[in-house]
C-alpha cells in the first residue's frame, strides 16, 4: 500500500499506474460531491470524468500532496457550478429570491413535502439556490471543515458560516413546514 503522498508524487512523474490507483481511490469521493450538487448520476458521472482529466493535466501544479482531497473537491465543485450554469435545465435561483422560496413553500401544497422524508431530502436540497446547496453538500455530505469550504468555494469564512446556517434553516422549512412559525425574539 502506498501513501497518498507517494501516489501523487508518482503521478507527478507521469506514472499511469499511480494515476489509476488515485482514480480508483477517489472516484466515489468526487462522485459524492457531484451527485449531491447535481442530483443526477449521469451528470455527476460526467463531472467526475472531467474532474479526473483536469487532475491528470494539472497534478504537477499541486505543491502540497496532503491537500489533494480539497483540491479535487475544488475542481469538482467548479465543474458542477459550470455545469449548472451552462444547462438551462435547472436554472440557479438567485440569492435574492431565497425569501420567495421560503414563502412559496408555506402554502397548502406543503403537506406533500412532509411525505417520505428520506426521499425528499435530496429534492429539498436540489431546490436550494446553488450557492447554498454547494456549502451544505461540502459540509454534510463530504464533511469538509469550514475553512476548507471557504477555500473550495472561494468565499470568506464568515460567508461559509452564514450560508450553511441559512441553507439548513431553509432545508428545515422545506422538510418540516408544520413547525410553529412564531419565532419569538426575546
Amino acid at each position: 500500500m502506498s501513501t497518498l503522498q507517494e501516489i501523487i508524487r508518482a503521478c507527478q512523474h507521469g506514472s499511469t499506474e499511480a494515476f489509476e490507483q488515485l482514480v480508483r481511490q477517489y472516484q466515489q469521493y468526487a462522485f459524492k460531491i457531484a451527485y449531491g450538487i447535481l442530483g443526477s448520476d449521469r451528470d455527476a458521472e460526467d463531472t467526475v470524468q472531467e474532474a479526473f482529466i483536469a487532475v491528470y493535466r494539472q497534478i504537477k501544479s499541486l505543491r502540497n500532496e496532503e491537500a489533494f482531497p480539497t483540491w479535487l473537491g475544488k475542481i469538482v465543485t467548479n465543474l458542477c457550478f459550470r455545469k449548472v450554469q451552462n444547462s438551462g435545465k435547472r436554472p440557479t435561483v438567485p440569492l435574492d429570491s431565497i425569501e420567495d422560496l421560503r414563502i412559496s413553500n408555506t402554502g397548502p401544497e406543503e403537506a406533500y413535502l412532509a411525505l417520505e422524508l428520506k426521499q425528499d431530502v435530496h429534492n429539498a436540497l436540489l431546490n436550494l439556490p446553488l450557492d447554498y446547496r454547494v456549502v451544505v453538500v461540502l459540509r454534510d455530505i463530504q464533511g469538509y471543515s469550514y475553512s476548507e469550504i471557504a477555500d473550495i468555494a472561494g468565499i470568506p469564512l464568515g460567508t461559509v458560516k452564514s450560508r450553511i446556517h441559512q441553507a439548513r434553516t431553509l432545508l428545515a422549512d422545506l422538510l418540516q413546514p408544520t413547525r410553529n412559525e412564531e419565532e419569538g425574539e426575546r
Partner: protein, 173 residues
C-alpha cells in the same frame, strides 16, 4: 446571550466550529430556553438527514474513460500540429518556388547558390579526382534531400496518428 444571537450561531455550534467561550454560553442558553433548544433539534435533524443521504455507487470505469479521453485529445492536438506544420511547409515551399521562378532576385540567388555548390563539389571532385558532373549532381541531390525530409515528416505525423486511432469510445454509448 439573546435568542437571536444563539440562533444565528446554531449551525456553527452543531458543527463544533465555535470558540470555546461562545460554545459554552450557547450550551448555557439552551439549558434554559426551550425555543432555541427546539430550533437546535430541528437543524440537527435536517443535518442528520443530509448526512445520511444515500449516494449511489459510481459504476463506470472512470480510469479507462479518462485515459481514452486524454489520448483522444492528444491525437486531436497532434493532428492539429501536423496540419499546421504541413501548412507552414507548403507556404514556405510555395514562397521559395515563387521567389526562385518568378523573381530575378530568386534566379540570381539560385544561380549564386548553384555556383557555390558547384564550386564546392568541383573542389571535392578535384581532391578525390572524380570527374565533374556537378550540374546534374546539384539538382538530383537537392531533390533527393527535399523528398527525404518530406517523407520523414509525413511518416512521423502519420505514425503518431495511426498509433492512437484504436481507442475505446466514450462510456455513454
Amino acid at each position: 446571550m439573546l435568542c437571536h444571537d444563539v440562533r444565528e450561531n446554531l449551525s456553527v455550534f452543531l458543527d463544533d466550529e465555535l470558540p470555546n467561550d461562545l460554545r459554552d454560553s450557547i450550551v448555557k442558553h439552551l439549558k434554559q430556553c426551550p425555543e432555541c433548544l427546539a430550533e437546535k433539534e430541528r437543524l440537527s435533524r435536517v443535518t442528520g438527514l443530509v448526512r445520511t443521504l444515500e449516494i449511489p455507487p459510481l459504476e463506470s470505469d472512470v480510469f479507462s474513460y479518462v485515459m481514452a479521453s486524454i489520448k483522444q485529445k492528444d491525437i486531436d492536438k497532434s493532428y492539429h500540429v501536423f496540419s499546421v506544420m504541413l501548412g507552414l511547409f507548403s507556404i514556405l515551399a510555395g514562397g521559395v518556388v515563387t521567389l526562385v521562378y518568378f523573381s530575378p532576385l530568386g534566379q540570381a540567388i539560385l544561380a549564386l547558390f548553384g555556383s557555390t555548390v558547384k564550386n564546392i563539389i568541383d573542389v571535392g571532385s578535384l581532391i578525390f579526382k572524380i570527374s565533374s558532373r556537378s550540374t546534374v549532381g546539384i539538382q538530383g541531390w537537392s531533390i533527393s534531400l527535399t523528398l527525404f525530409f518530406g517523407f520523414l515528416l509525413s511518416y512521423y505525423g502519420l505514425r503518431k496518428v495511426l498509433n492512437n486511432t484504436n481507442l475505446g469510445g466514450p462510456l455513454h454509448e
